[in-house]
Subunit: 359 residues, 2 copies
């Protein structure tokens, strides 16, 4: 939270943790709430006005809040939540505040509706303090970034891998994106897309490293195209990516590999092929947060996260992909195809040649 506020140049006096709530004292409550709603682990943020627990002050402040928010000819409700010892009950507060709002804002022609009000004045009295708010911003949820272990994430620049990466960030994992550079089978636009997607995602992990591994992968692809069955190209390509990711996970002391695969989304992502892909990785789990997602669902999330526009920029597709990729690869055939090569050496060479880019 501190990092996010600093990054967005929002000044605040202090942050206090009290009884399951976090209070940020600031003169920019709305801007603060909007920004903090984007911080992983926060389920909601409400711009609030604070005062003491004195009934008169509560009423006075609540009227100010209502004056600033409740529109003409509309309905409202007052809700109160109270913790501690006070000379009044929650009900007393609701009644008194409601009555005084009706009187003070008489010319707005308001009415009380406790069932389905258009505006709600929420009052929380906690011991000697009280807080009032009428708006609650829905937060991103999940866990605070860094509360889980690090993961490496295959990031292609496309829609899916960005969303998969975001999902693990949301659940608390700092991410190290890995981009595999398939030039000359793709154009340069793709690399830029991937780095821009990473930049966008890193806006949500303020205070964490912003590095991306860029791994040269074109030579490997060239070798596979020349010397192995054409329909296996994508499987062989992806198994190499997994292995390189495993090496980088070790270097980075990460605990898992994240990919954007969804069951059946592409030829290489049939359930049978996912099993063949998994076989290439020994020491790390492959985490696929999008397994059950339809493309339209993933796209909707990408729009919300802000990566959709970047991921859908025009770029040449990978020309190494065969016209008829295998959808039911047999592990023994894949292994046989790989026997021709010194796979271990190829992986190590790629990882050694990787560039670490800070975006």
């Amino acid at each position: 939270m501190k990092n996010a506020l600093e990054y967005h140049n929002i000044s605040y006096e202090k942050i206090v943790l009290k009884r399951g709530r976090i209070y940020v004292k600031t003169r920019n409550a709305h801007e603060t709430a909007s920004n903090l709603a984007q911080v992983f682990g926060i389920s909601s943020a409400s711009p609030a006005i604070g005062t003491t627990s004195d009934m008169n002050l509560i009423v006075e402040t609540a009227i100010k809040l209502a004056d600033a928010t409740v529109e003409k000819e509309s309905s409202f409700a007052v809700r109160c939540h109270r913790v501690g010892e006070h000379p009044y009950s929650s009900m007393d507060i609701c009644k008194e505040v409601g009555k005084q709002i009706l009187t003070s804002l008489k010319d707005r022609n308001l009415r009380v509706d406790l069932g389905n009000p258009q505006f709600t004045i929420n009052i929380e009295v906690r011991d000697k303090e009280s807080y009032m708010f009428s708006e609650t911003k829905h937060g991103v949820g999940g866990f605070p970034l860094g509360s889980q272990s690090k993961v490496v994430c295959l990031l292609s620049g496309g829609i899916d891998s960005a969303v998969a990466c975001w999902f693990t960030m949301k659940r608390g994992c700092p991410v190290v994106p890995i981009y595999f550079d398939n030039s000359p089978f793709i154009d340069e636009t793709t690399a830029t897309k991937a780095l821009d997607v990473a930049k966008k995602l890193f806006e949500l992990s303020i205070g964490f490293p912003r590095k991306v591994y860029v791994v040269p992968h074109g030579k490997n692809l060239e070798t596979f195209i020349k010397e192995s069955p054409r329909k296996l190209t994508c499987i062989l390509c992806k198994r190499m990516m997994y292995r390189a990711a495993e090496n980088i996970a070790e270097i980075e002391k990460a605990e898992g590999i994240v990919t954007g695969e969804a069951i059946g989304e592409q030829a290489s992502q049939t359930l049978i092929n996912l099993r063949v892909l998994n076989d290439a990785v020994e020491k790390y789990p492959v985490h696929r947060p999008l397994l059950g997602f339809d493309k339209t669902e993933t796209e909707a999330l990408a729009r919300k996260i802000g990566t959709f526009e970047i991921s859908t920029r025009k770029a040449k597709g990978c020309t190494a992909a065969p016209a008829k990729p295998s959808t039911r690869a047999k592990l023994e055939n894949v292994k046989k195809a790989e026997e021709k090569f010194d796979i271990q050496r190829m992986v190590e060479k790629s990882v050694r040649a990787a560039k670490i880019v800070t975006v």
Copy 2:
């Protein structure tokens, strides 16, 4: 689709596949559409009225549809999509139908609003036929069940595993649920819950087998509690489940193991522990569709699927779980703890003792 209609006792004349649309000829269009919207692979279903491509008949039928659906004092639009050769354009149809509806339903005081209408009369003209509909039911999406390979699914009766199971079904995988019976550490309610959840899920896989493996697991747990560090109980328990699932996957010729784990959701589900769990499985990928989900998000889906009510029935929690389970288990310690036992034999014994229940 045929199975679903038969199961729900809905009579229909025929099902025709034409140019990316599937037409079901029936007298129960609404009921048919509602039921088919629940079939995996269907993205939407519209109860429609059909006629020929004759302009007069189209107008006449569209008026009937409008009469039955468009409410008094409301706005409407006519949209037309045309494929084939006709003596009129789509625009002609829209104009004529719109005009005639306004005339015929004059006493309803309707108005045309092309931007944001309250009701829409959709007309599809395809060669010699035409179809009209005003309502589109949102379908479940995904792929037709059986278009992907079979998976086995750890099903506890709880909220998460049911939703995980549903996600793989949605993407086309027939599922074989496996329930591990931890008695005497749980009560009988839990087994009933798991079987009821399976029954609920099987309502969505009409025509596929409805069997559940019930694997006795209490003896294994007892052994672990007695003879290994208490804080590892849950990890050891789950590794055994994975291994048994692997055996059953082989028996069932499945291609993967599905679990309801989400990163950090429980002590056993930290990223570090998931890695330790994965280590127990050699031949199959562990698929976790809920990896990135918050509990509230999973619950919302469970409500939609219809398993929430079953999963939240009161039951005694597993009393084998230690007060302080390890959240950062070390693989070497886990392996050392397992060395004491003939793990392979324990797994085989459990699987051999498994009961296959048809629900």
